[in-house]
Symmetry: C2
Subunit: 189 residues, 2 copies
């Protein structure tokens, strides 16, 4: 997706060899027009699949998932990272390890919002080691639903996320795949 | 906004006299069609105001703000509740006290994403005591920008948020104002 890659090159900032900051258009300030192009592209990539629901994870996946959901005409469910007082007790829980933060955390989805037999498309901003996506897949499996695909905006192709997802037989579509980052430059596959 | 009020009556669940759960369509599972109607209504309510940017707060405001931003054709910025490694050091910070959780927390916005002279519309899901909105207004003031309005989906009219915002001379538009909640019933103003 050239429009996205151009924005990454122009506005993304590389820190070391593995951190890419895209806070200017995706993760803190959000360019809604770009998000619409991204949503349209996800619909193109998954146009042959029946999708009943989009699942993402708070916080940075939410805007992306909501805009994308308009193209699929389905509801969004976002997994929560903390069990609030207001969340039901009947929840699916998965443990996610964050390599960035070097710590594990739980994600929760209320059992009411994922049902047996539903086709669920996972949408998220980044794929690195795939731990968040695997956590969401685990939750979908707990619900007896099917993870029909994973749609990612930016994949760090030099990390292991793709392998983990593909090994589970789940289709992965990433709109920009980064081969390497060095000297403050992003090289796409 | 009748469509919204109908959903609150039908699907909202009242806990005690002050907690309303709308996880089925707004805060955990998100009904994108309803969100579009909400976004359209915010545009109607603020149609006479020049808006350069929409500001909200993670997590539950983000989807709402992104869908609404489509009607204003402006970017969204969401305040973060934790200062991540990936966030810039040059940030505006405000302290927010949560009556629900009985504790304070900081919200952060990178200085790059709010500029002097910008007209900023705050969009959020709930207004109760107004502490989150006041925190966002404080951040907008730090940036030298102007808070031109606050758009709220569900206002707890029996709490003090409205007074705090109106006292600052800022226009507040709430799509559903709750007068009271008792015996598991919501009474609108």
């Amino acid at each position: 997706m050239d429009l996205l890659k151009e924005r990454i090159v122009k506005e993304g900032r590389v820190i070391g060899s593995s951190i890419l900051k895209v806070d200017g258009f995706l993760n803190h300030q959000i360019d809604i027009q770009l998000l619409n192009e991204i949503g349209r592209e996800f619909k193109n990539r998954f146009s042959d699949i029946k999708v009943d629901k989009i699942l993402t994870i708070e916080s940075s996946g939410i805007g992306l998932a909501c805009i994308t959901a308009q193209y699929f005409n389905v509801p969004v469910v976002f997994a929560k990272k903390a069990l609030s007082l207001n969340l039901d007790k009947d929840v699916y829980v998965a443990d996610v390890f964050s390599y960035t933060k070097n710590t594990g955390y739980n994600v929760f989805v209320s059992a009411k919002y994922l049902s047996k037999g539903e086709n669920v498309l996972i949408i998220d901003d980044f794929l690195a080691n795939g731990q968040a996506a695997l956590g969401l897949i685990n939750i979908i499996e707990q619900a007896g639903a099917t993870a029909v695909g994973v749609g990612i905006v930016i994949e760090k192709g030099f990390q292991q996320g793709r392998n983990h997802i593909v090994e589970k037989g789940i289709r992965l579509e990433s709109l920009a795949i980064i081969k390497s980052m060095e000297d403050n430059k992003v090289i796409f596959e």
